[in-house]
Symmetry: D2
Subunit: 448 residues, 4 copies
């Protein structure tokens, strides 16, 4: 999923970028990097590891300058090379350039093959390299024009920040699938970040979301960013950001993420109101199931209890690349509150079910700990389709809802009952004022 | 505060001990160590760092044998030497010995000075070294008798596990101030650990708490541990374990820690029931304020909301040694949920107020984020006295409740109102069937 | 200066390459890397550090396959990025490719600018990237033809090894400036390496030097490498390899490096034979001045003594990038043998004088230690011109022999006398059967 | 073998100590440590690793104060614990104390057992702990008197430096087996070090060797160290320091180590002068065989040649603890100069033969490289007895000269001839003005 940030017009640009990346660490923990521009030269530091590990004081000294872009990398298939960290830097005809990217380009292989046919070489596995090649091969005199034309060949869900030696160009695709917001730093200058939760920590005021199809240009000669509407907006923000990925204190498209999750829980409770089930307590799968569980509890009157404790010393399991390691460590991460749940009927709430293996393990863990019944509620619809718009999902065959009906899944995970939200429920919970990117739930791959 | 563990009669003793220490990481993150006994030789590995960092597969290979003791070290004043990690190992007349200790010895300086007067040398700053010297200087033929006599000179709150080449001796002081529980491993053998939360992860059944004043002896020639009641019990478990330190899924003295915290919150709500305050939501200071906030919400009917988000990537701030570092990182750890709390009146619940600086910062952060009112509730009484029984508290001068009245503190932290539990409230919340160690609240330094 | 190696047709290709790189560590200590090819896929591991640090058993497991190329990087100006390590890997039209390079391309900026003008992007600071671009942009069907045409645009001193998924192409420029030898592994397959000292350690037999202007092609379908003479040879091996850079046990162009250095020392002695100087002992600046000092001693009859001790625990000073660090550590590296030299007249032999600062420090150190006289002899001519053919020299202004006469230098370094070899002496010492690359001494920049 | 250093009366005491330890790194590479005294408090930093790794600027900041003692640890059997690094620190009746020790105590087990019988505990495996216990158990009021009486119980080869909060006590055993010299720092204050090679680097003037049986006391109230002759000297310096262990530029007992090694080589040549052997060149086993080879060459007229190259990038093999690792890496360390030795008859000189395995491998390597004949000469007598005076030798069974005659060894290592020095030769080479500690050669275990 990744996080990106751009800071412009502040002498502590790299430091501010690093703190913003720290606040968005949940979006990617595999690698991180920052490029600053100073006196016409771009400096880049990128490495595997957490923001707090990579950006030491020493590293920040190297990253001098009053503008910086940064990236947190979420592991995706195959890309375990250090070279696959961002920003991607290159020298080209107009000088030096560095790019960060959040999203996924649908036509990346086609463009790559075409460029390779024409003699390009690719040194990384990242689709970000496409954009640099398209910019470099263009013959326009101004970078802004090259970017525009490069985007003509770029289909997908994307947020780019392109930094030259003196400017920054921020672009969000016309659907606005991935979030991107603009803020004003109280210490001077601007910040653009994937999530608004970054603004608080760096003492910035939220101005507005970057518009779908918009290009913002930060230029030393102008006090305010220039805005160019490159494409007619067809706004379809990603529903999955609300369900699971964004931090609850972020605001996307004027919607507070926490509140939308609470609504999802309330909706689950409304759907259950005629159910014969008599649960003793609502138990969230921590941490992401908590807001929905609070909503369910508030709606239903069934008390909310912390029946599962999360151990925060586990390290990076939660978001780690391979399936095996997730299996190995799941028991070290979640502990059942035995004395609380013994003999009780639990209404367990999780944000989603992907492969089903974790859910199965949680149900087993709770029953082993003495739970009488485990009713599983999922604060999202069934995930039947892989996401090609920037969220790391497994292949369709690995998606349990592709292979099984709800009843079969309930049996598989050994729950006493299982309910999901419908797609309509989800849309209503977030806010029915908008089309959303819902492809994981309904297969509507609308990006073309 | 520290955590200790002993595993006896299991071929994976050190591995089980390391997993138990992992489950008790919250009790100490500065250093960790394990001694195993194998073929009449004791092997020790100890180092600074987290359990998951120190106990690699390679380290565990060195720690062969079917018995092991382990320790997590919580930083205490001055002791930043690697030599101050436990277990403490020594060769003495009867062979090799290794000891872990949780607690604090009241008369440690007196004993130390006396031993030094008689020619002893001290190579560490730990009071654990006292016990080894007392054992070594004793002339009895059996280790058990030496330990008994050594304990005659040992006044304080303590849980010791002493490991020789073939036996383990577990001792808890007559007051039972620090928790210590006995379990049976489903894979064979026994485990003794500071908290029962360790038992679940290593697949052990809780048998019972080690009794105040009891010595348990594990011996290869006996299937079950031998129990010797060294001292008449005067049971006074530490109230602070319930308030703050123990993991919520642990059970101490048959009382579920989570439930006691919930009760503390309920009591706060009952005390507030005639209050004119109209709070819009109950907001916990995460993570330890959560159960009390749930209790307050359930009792009062005011909705529980996650108004403060905790960032879990911060690292070891929470429990780090120096005050400065805590200051520096507090904003990186806790983020206010702006859109949730804006214009709202908040009933904020924390587990305790020690110096007052963190509380002040939290109130400011919430008001900066738009909270209309912040009513601060503390799920424990005012801390007016330093703890000498094993919990790391600052000097009395640093305790805000020693220096200020409740009203003054309320003003200092800039809250709109402030309430604590009374000592009686606290006792009733935990369970009024017991005398507790309450010295931090009432100055009753009963250990003599 | 760098070292390169290629191994073909051996199941332990990467391991053999790593041992060969270890034997050639003196040619570059900043970074090292290896690419292997296995089942149509190229794997690359490269990093800063010594060969023994980077190529752990774990790393070698990743580098499976029966062919591998490797590189040791010597730091050159500006290139401190991890991205500037070799091999350079890319995907291009014909598949995957990886290249290692030793040397320096004279027209690199021109080619680079031209390629950039045509839309290429450069992600590293290495001239090796030129060759990949030229190969990628070519339209020929066969890699060998693309390489040939790419070389048409490539002017300079170079040794390349290009590895595709199944073949290796070895190319040496027509002057043969940098050394490159072919060997046969006793365990099967072939090895190509910058220096023959690599062959002994990997149990390979020296076959012959790769010929100037030759391309060797290793192909799985042929038992022996195919040889194509791309260019008419104009053999001019680098004299500086004999003077200083190659390991003394290497053989370049059938000339044993140690013997040539001994000859240089003998020639210095012959030149001195009518000198009125009465030296008590010949003292080498260790390690590289030793063979010449032995030659001087054998020729003159003045005893050879180890008057300067080299401390081998210093680490990587000798070859480290910045001038400052060299200054700081020089005294830690070399110690005078006080009791040996006190009151004595010393004939000190070093391989070369570049900036003069080290020589000045050595003379001072020896005089401080009690030497009566220090006569400085240099086993090479005065270095007046920077090398553009692959050896890292400072700018012309920094070369002391560009700024000063021999007499001025003698005064500057505070020696009692100073003599160099003439260029003719040098050529005769190496062997007067050949034109050599002598540009550092005579400014003959013959590469066009 | 270890190195020790004491610096007194200089504000950069710890920094100077660290540089002196760096100069004596050859005496021990397993671990290193320094204790400084500042304002009545002793600070200690010790760790595994090289001096340049452990003593960073940060570490030296901690080690404030105008006096410091330091130690380099050579690995000895069994002691691989971090706790076995020196200095050894303890609190005892008179305050704080820290001790470094070079040597070996003959009666250490007896004293240890006696102390343990009386109730002492031992936390390390080092005999240095004995001295601290003896000092601590003594009842005298002054540390100097306690040290004196403690030494009454201490039999062996030793150099101690004892540091209290304000003084340093330097003691050398009455035989003076291990070297120890006194110097005056040009920047103020005094230095005591195992080898004089440390003095040059820290800019100190050699004053004299510490006398056998002497105690030097450094005291802030006196400008010069007080000297107390504790025992009647029976001077017997260790011959092995001259043969192998000391750095060639050190001076021990007024004898330059390099010169004594040269003499050993000359003596070997004299012994060979009627030999029918016609060697083409004298080849040292680098680095320690070099001076003797130069002596042999000078005496015999046979040219000295560097027939074996040593690779200095190997790391710490030379001095590493286990036999296995030495085996593995020997070929990576030494390379034969093929073209030099091919078809030649070599006179190879090494400093000693211990187990015979390395010698055997060297002969094989040279013959594989084409040597016609390999005549092995050893610049020391046959080692038939283990050293108990501080040098790490294997058990007697592992000493090849204990198990085999010279002829058998020659056959075993496959040399064409083999000669040693006689014990008399060795004594004459060093200087026949002294009794030496020769126990490894003649079994004269004189220390009682």
């Amino acid at each position: 999923m990744c996080a990106i940030v751009g800071v412009y017009g502040n002498d502590n640009a790299a430091r501010i970028a690093s703190i913003a990346l720290f606040a968005m660490q949940h979006r990617g923990q595999e690698a991180t990097g920052i490029s600053s521009s100073c006196n016409g030269k771009i400096h880049t530091i990128k490495n595997r590891g957490l923001v707090s590990e990579v950006f030491t004081d020493e590293a920040l000294k190297v990253l001098a300058g009053n503008m910086a872009i940064g990236h947190n990398r979420y592991s995706t298939a195959g890309g375990d090379s250090i070279l696959d960290a961002q920003p991607v830097f290159a020298k080209y005809k107009l000088g030096e350039i560095s790019i960060v990217h959040n999203g996924n380009l649908i036509n990346k292989d086609e463009v790559r093959n075409d460029l390779i046919d024409k003699g390009a070489i690719y040194q990384t596995g990242m689709d970000t390299e496409n954009l640099i090649h398209l910019i470099a091969k263009n013959s326009k005199d101004r970078l802004r024009d090259r970017i525009k034309e490069a985007l003509e060949r770029t289909i997908g869900a994307y947020c780019f920040i392109v930094q030259s030696r003196s400017k920054q160009f921020v672009i969000r695709d016309k659907y606005g699938i991935r979030p991107l917001s603009l803020g004003k730093l109280n210490s001077g200058g601007y910040i653009v970040a994937s999530e608004t939760c970054a603004f608080d920590l760096v003492d910035a005021e939220f101005i507005r979301d970057v518009r779908p199809g918009e290009m913002l240009i930060f230029d030393e000669h102008k006090d305010e960013p220039e805005s160019i509407q490159l494409y007619e907006p067809e706004y379809r923000p990603c529903a999955f950001e609300y369900v699971y990925f964004a931090r609850p204190d972020s605001v996307i498209d004027n919607k507070n993420v926490y509140r939308t999750r609470e609504n999802m829980g309330r909706t689950l409770a409304k759907n259950d109101q005629n159910s014969p089930i008599q649960a003793d307590m609502v138990v969230p799968v921590p941490d992401s199931g908590v807001p929905a569980a609070l909503g369910y509890s508030a709606q239903s009157g069934i008390p909310f209890e912390y029946g599962i404790i999360r151990n925060h010393y586990v390290g990076r399991t939660f978001i780690e690349p391979t399936q095996e390691m997730r299996n190995l460590k799941v028991r070290m991460k979640l502990s059942p509150m035995k004395s609380l749940i013994k003999g009780k009927s639990l209404l367990v709430i999780d944000d989603s079910i992907v492969r089903g293996t974790t859910s199965k393990r949680i149900v087993k863990m709770l029953k082993d700990a003495g739970a009488k019944e485990v009713h599983f509620r999922v604060a999202s619809p069934e995930i039947k389709y892989p996401c090609y718009y920037g969220i790391d999902t497994p292949t369709q065959e690995e998606l349990i809802s592709y292979r099984m009906t709800k009843e079969e899944i309930c049996k598989y995970i050994e729950a006493d009952s299982l309910e999901y939200l419908t797609v309509e429920d989800l849309v209503n919970s977030i806010g029915n004022d908008r089309n959303y990117a819902l492809e994981s739930f309904n297969g509507d791959y609308f990006v073309k």
